[in-house]
Symmetry: C2
Subunit: 234 residues, 2 copies
DNA sequence: AACCTTGGTTTGATATACAAAACCAACTTC
DNA sequence: GAAGTTGGTTTTGTATATCAAACCAAGGTT
């Protein structure tokens, strides 16, 4: 990462917010300082400022949790995607029909950004949350989306034979393997009318919709279909 | 605001994120610099860092929108409130019965924090969004919640006769007026069984529920009842 | 074609933020 | 009761971030 014109305080606060997001109401100033390798006097100033800005809240037991300003900004982020409301309306019904958790995601170059989730109780606990990104080749949902990317663009996204990163022992590592799985996915959709990514409520017009002017694809998909567990990294 | 141990870069980035939240995909670097009074070379470094951290995204036309990292953190903020899921399940049905937008909010001292909203089409457009806070005395929903605050605590919250801030010409300005309206609210609930704040799906156990260990009250309320328009500042 | 404007990028002097050190209060251990 | 530990707060010297100035590219105006 090029740090020529860098603002270190933002990087530090990003680390702090990430840690607090993962463990709200658990971490004190000294915990954050030790865990993140940030001097406690710097951490003192960061937390005091973030508290004043309502980015974090200091609890009575001196642990920190996220503040409402980040809720507001996060809400504004999701409001950029008008499809989320339609997804929630459709999927809150569909999930009872198929008895599976359903997620809405968009493909951003070679990553999948999760936007919304309608959950059903399931032994498989999904790790993906709205706002999180995974490499597309490392998730079932991502591969379902890549299957419909034009070949030249796919070539540009995966210029080298080795795929990075490799998140789990099951994660694909070779581009040729990826290509083969994408072909299988297209074949599965054509022959059986049911792939990982097909929308199940019958309104085919919303299957792959272009959102906003970036033209990114959006897709919602049940968590478990075709025998693969989970929409998280595989 | 005491700025003794202050991190100015966080304050600047807060202003930037607020502006981008309000006008996504509209503002360029020079627009943000002029509007916020931040030097354009500082703005350059701030935006470059925020972009690298995925706090913002630079569009092809050089305008900025919010990035998914803030979506993720925002989602983490709302996940702190387990009642939101229950609210959405109940309110997505109830809103069709009463044909009103319904909101979930919590009272934090003398402010109301909005947490969720289930919308119905309405001529009255609510300004409140999840994550936003308003002074409780300045909103119908806030007053509905204050009505059930113990008197000594109410006295501590409103120590002076003059109420601040005064957001609209209709905003209450005297504590005695507020007290009177809270009495009216309680009376209305007792006599007619229908105040601004009563939950309308019949599960009285969830009327005023304590959430988390802070013991803050949570309340959901239709947008328009008792003749008052809107749950925003009044 | 020459000049001007605009938005963005780079430079480097200096004002200031950072963090090492010291301090403090509360609690624990001996 | 004395000494030690822990988490938080304050001080202050100095390394560095900030921003004024300069530069750059692209587009507009004359």
């Amino acid at each position: 990462m090029d740090k020529k014109y860098w603002v270190p305080a933002l990087e530090k606060s990003n680390l702090v917010l990430q840690a607090i997001s993962e463990q709200p109401s658990s971490l004190k100033l000294i915990d954050l300082s030790k865990r993140l390798g940030i001097n406690k006097s710097s951490m003192f100033s960061l937390l005091a400022t973030m508290e004043a800005l309502d980015w974090v809240v200091r609890e009575e037991d001196a642990t920190y949790s996220l503040g409402s300003k980040l809720g507001y900004i996060g809400n504004a982020f999701f409001k950029q995607f008008s499809l989320i409301d339609r997804f929630r309306k459709e999927a809150s019904v569909t999930k009872h029909v198929i008895k599976e958790t359903i997620q809405l995601a968009k493909l951003e170059r070679n990553e999948v950004l999760y936007l919304a989730k309608e959950e059903m109780p399931s032994p498989v606990r999904l790790s993906s949350e709205p706002g999180i990104k995974y490499p597309a080749h490392a998730t079932a949902l991502g591969k379902a989306m890549l299957a419909w990317v034009a070949e030249p663009e796919l070539g540009a996204l995966y210029a080298s034979e080795t795929l990075d990163p490799c998140l789990t022992p099951h994660t694909l590592q070779q581009r040729s393997d990826l290509i083969r799985q994408l072909e299988d996915e297209r074949l599965r959709v054509r022959l059986a009318g049911s792939g990982h990514g097909l929308l199940l409520c019958g309104c085919s017009g919303s299957f792959r919709q272009r959102e906003g002017r970036r033209g990114d694809q959006l897709l919602h998909v049940p968590a478990r279909m075709g025998g693969e567990a989970g929409a998280g990294p595989a």
